[in-house]
Symmetry: C2
Subunit: 114 residues, 2 copies
Amino acid sequence: MVMNQQNLDLVFNALADPTRRAMLARLSKGETNISTLASPFNISQPAISKHMRVLEKAGLIERTRKGREHIISIAPAPAKQASEWIAFYTSHWETRFDAVDAYLKQHNLHNPKN
Amino acid sequence: MVMNQQNLDLVFNALADPTRRAMLARLSKGETNISTLASPFNISQPAISKHMRVLEKAGLIERTRKGREHIISIAPAPAKQASEWIAFYTSHWETRFDAVDAYLKQHNLHNPKN
DNA sequence: TTGATTCATAACCATGTGGTTATAGATCAT
DNA sequence: ATGATCTATAACCACATGGTTATGAATCAA
């Protein structure tokens, strides 16, 4: 549990918007510039710019410049820490069980009769 | 991935407030009535009532009445689904690895040299 | 019954947020 | 150089949000 409360504020707040979640989902397939990332959304370019800023302040994305383009990529660490916070406050035995269960399912070792 | 976008909005938004996260952390130790839950916080009773409503609408808590008291308990499922959403959009290999790694550590099967 | 306790609701306020249009700075292409 | 493209910023608007105080409805205790 590395993340402090203020960062958690920023991360959860950033994730609370469906447009920003869709952007992150798109970014999970690979980095792009902002225009490409924005193209599926029916909102103005300044609105996109604001969303980028929110995600960036939360540490959820990283930005590098390539000429006039801003290349955006996902920074998974803060999201993972938010996920860990959730796992921490929900009952421990349950999340532990789920982690194991998911692993077994993914590797076809799961026995539904158990 | 059972949860729809609107529920994710509500859940992440509810988690974005430090007071509400502290309440959930307190609730992770067991159910209480609202007054007890509220006592550590230096805000008015109506403010507490509003936070309860936000958590309840997000499905993060459950409420039962016992006389004049409202007994609040955690409902872990929605939070878990939010956590799963994060795991889904962050790189899959990484979260899978983490799940396995956490399991091994908890059961003292972890070999730091690997 | 009376008073205290638990909680919700209404009305209000200041601030934040997601959207807009207008504008401008860089950079690329011609 | 000129025009198009990519992005940011400023100014604005409507609405949501987190807080407040005031009030009231139930319930418990005496």
